[in-house]
Amino acid sequence: MSDKRIVVIGGGLAGLMTTIRICEEGLPVDLVSFVPVKRSHSVCAQGGINAALDMQGKGDSPWEHFDDTVYGGDFLANQGPAKRMCEKAPEIVHMLDRMGLMFNRTPEGQLDVRAFGGAKQKRTAFAGATTGQQMIYALDEQVRRFEAAGQVKKWIGYDFQELIVDDTKTVRGVVVMNMNTMKLETLPATAVVIATGGPGYIYGKSTNSFINTGSVATACYLQGAKYANGEFIQIHPTAIPGSDKDRLMSESARGEGGRMWTYKDGKPWYFLEEMFPAYGNLVPRDIATRTIYDICINQGLGLDGENKVFLDLSFKDPDELDRKLGGIMEIYEKFVGDDPRKVPMKVFPSVHYSMGGMWVDAETDMTNINGLYAAGEVNYQYHGANRLGANSLLSCIYDGFVTGPAAVKYANEVKPASDYDALAEKFLGQSEKLFEQIYAMDGDENARKLHQEMAKWMTERMTVVRHNDKLEELEKKLVELRERWNHIGIADHSKVLNQEAIYVKDLQRMMELARVLTVSALHRNESRGAHYKPEFPNRDDENFLKTTIATVSEDGPKISYEEVDTSLIKPRARNYAVDKHATETEGEDK
């Protein structure tokens, strides 16, 4: 076997699919994961995966899917990659089906599909309401095959620290930490794939897990990787607020007919249906979220004066609900205590997904560091300014198809490092120094309290509505918090699974990334997709039809822009009150 090895960081859907593709192309993989891969955050994905299989003979096509994706993303998605993803989607769903994923079926035994936001066609294949979990299990099983055959080595319970990069800006390995022993180690790599998901934990409570710190992406950013479109954070319209996190109530609830309403003048008001007759409850997430936000915050029409509205499925057949939405029915019952088959669910928007992420090349998913790739939510491809529901699972898998072969091709061509050992030694020393610093921290600041402060500020100013003055204050606050980080005191000095030390390390990175997101938002003076500034309520294609690029510098993130690929579909006005094609002529006039 060749001495070339590819290191994949993250065992979620993108990481696993990439691993499979690399193995199929013949190179061995070191798969590094913070948690056993079956416990990755991908399990939280519920609703399904989009593919224009046209299972219902309504003339759906990959082009329609592509058009919905681009329109839904407010034309900020690079169209080349988005189109290729939509074209590959049917094949991907078939592959998962062949791997044994228990997709729901029609009476004939074919794949069943359901409706999702931002699309008029039913094209979402699903396995109950735990599609992400089922998908990760299917891929995990395939990776286990390669593991049994000796082609994959899993490093479970290992935490990524930093890249080993040489003078030619080429990645040569990674520094990781065995969390059980708190020992730092280096893994040599011909290429490295980052597949670590989103940064939701920056906001404290979100629909993300505590493990979604964005810490790995930030580490790469601090080592020179570009971070793109950071300002585009998706706020999911329907989540149930909790004491530890907010739990997602899948968009598929609306896809299966769920209706959103609240009381107005004492009567039920189906606000989405009234305001957006063409798409009704299935408007894209940014739109639903802004509407709910406006109803609760500005109009004060939340239920019982609280920030909540109804998501109603109680009129549906309970057996069908169990079969198609069992997973979320269970979550609501277990965590709220009410039966959503009988009473409407109470929901409110919550931070959910990052459209932005590490900048990657449109053809290969390679970042601006040679040999460093990014796949899945952690990169910025495909979704533009707003992601359509059920496109995230698709993009994770599709990224595996792009990244895997590209990384292998690169690995087969690249020249080996001149003096790897010395290089590895240097970076290992650097990481060791950071932990020495953390272990020695004895200041007065409480790391958890700093995080809460950051989360509160970020949630108030960097979610649904953004104002430039508030963003400026936020940036200052983040700089201050980052400084206060130096004065944290830690209580735990153990060398066994010291979660406090690891958390303190991640907190620093979350603060750095929060600043990237904020500065990116500050610079974009328009409203597009999930990014909404009342001072600039309209989309401004002339000045901002471009990708935000943040690069690390001594004085914080430096912002530049890059052209968006709009070669296939000409940008047109985005209006979900009418059919998406209705604005095509309008676009001509502009």
């Binding site: 499979i20 593709r21 199929e24 948690v35 056993p36 079956k38 416990r39 990755s40 399990v43 939280c44 094949e91 078939h94 592959m95 998962l96 089906d97 062949r98 791997m99 044994g100 228990m102 997709f103 729901n104 079926r105 029609t106 009476p107 004939e108 035994g109 396995a127 109950g128 735990t130 979990q133 089922q134 099983e141 395939q142 286990r144 095959r145 049994a148 479970i156 897990s209 505590f210 493990i211 909790g242 004491s243 530890d244 739990r247 997602l248 079969r323 269970e330 979550i331 965590f335 198809f401 409480n446 309290k449 209580a491 735990d492 153990s494 066994v496 699974l497 979660q499 406090e500 958390y503």
Partner: protein, 249 residues
């Protein structure tokens, strides 16, 4: 009125080899709290009930929606997930202990690698030729799909093994988790290609025969997977396989 609090009693262990000890905590109560938010509160302020400074309790978690299995521990004597254990629904002091059938790493964190290794032993996968485009998968009857979807919801949390009187830290029994996966993959039209191998695996040491039919597994499974049905079904498959091995070979 004194502020409402939550009391916890936690079994701790500093590393794999040290002996366990108990610590009590009292933290402020909040609405819709679960055991996870209690543990987070302890991280914020790692001080015991008697005011002694200590370290935060280590525990594992990921999804917090009871779909990943990470935060499994023993809560008030019963094994379950910490995320779905709502403070309002359980008695105080809330007693937290690590699972007993797996080696402790630290505090409430245990090493469940054995469960993943066993999945390898029974080849719990569908042997597809590859990820390349080979057309649609096999047709499945929705009713059968629905049954087996339940099996594929297994999140490898280990509750079924924790409660099993036949599963020990140092024996070979694979337990309900694995047997149920054998049923799942034997059902799948392509997965069935490895059916005989799988059955022979569970006819070996630690296999299905070592089940004692206490049926605790099915009571404890948080996902309500019909584990005892799986055990009986695999029992039947094994019986038929024995006959095949005896009379057809």
């Amino acid at each position: 009125m004194a502020e409402k609090t939550v009391r916890l009693k936690i079994k701790r262990q500093l590393n794999a080899d040290s002996s366990p000890f108990w610590e009590e905590f009292e933290i402020p109560y909040g609405p819709s709290m679960n055991v996870i938010s209690c543990l987070v509160a302890i991280q914020e302020n790692p001080v015991t009930r008697s005011g002694k400074k200590t370290t935060a309790v280590a525990w594992e978690c990921s999804c917090l929606e009871e779909v990943c299995g990470a935060c499994t521990m023993i809560i008030n004597g019963k094994v379950r997930q910490a995320c779905s254990a709502l403070v309002d629904n359980i008695d105080q002091p809330i007693v937290l202990e690590p699972m007993t059938k797996f080696p402790v790493v630290r505090d409430l964190v245990v090493d469940r690698q054995r469960m993943f290794d066993n999945l390898k032993k029974v080849q719990a996968w569908v042997p597809v030729d590859g990820s390349f485009d080979m057309g649609p998968g096999p047709k499945l009857k929705e009713s059968e799909r629905a049954v087996h979807y339940e099996l594929s919801k297994c999140m490898t949390c280990g509750c079924c093994l924790e409660v099993c009187p036949q599963f020990e830290k140092d024996n070979d029994f694979m337990g309900a988790q694995i047997i149920s996966q054998v049923r799942l993959f034997n059902f799948h039209p392509t997965g069935a290609a490895l059916k005989e191998d799988r059955l022979h695996s569970v006819m070996g040491k630690g296999g299905v025969a070592e089940c004692g039919n206490a049926q605790n597994c099915v009571e404890a499974c948080p996902k309500e997977i019909p584990l005892t049905t799986s055990i009986a079904e695999v029992g039947r498959q094994v019986t038929l396989q024995v006959m095949k091995d005896w009379f057809l070979k």
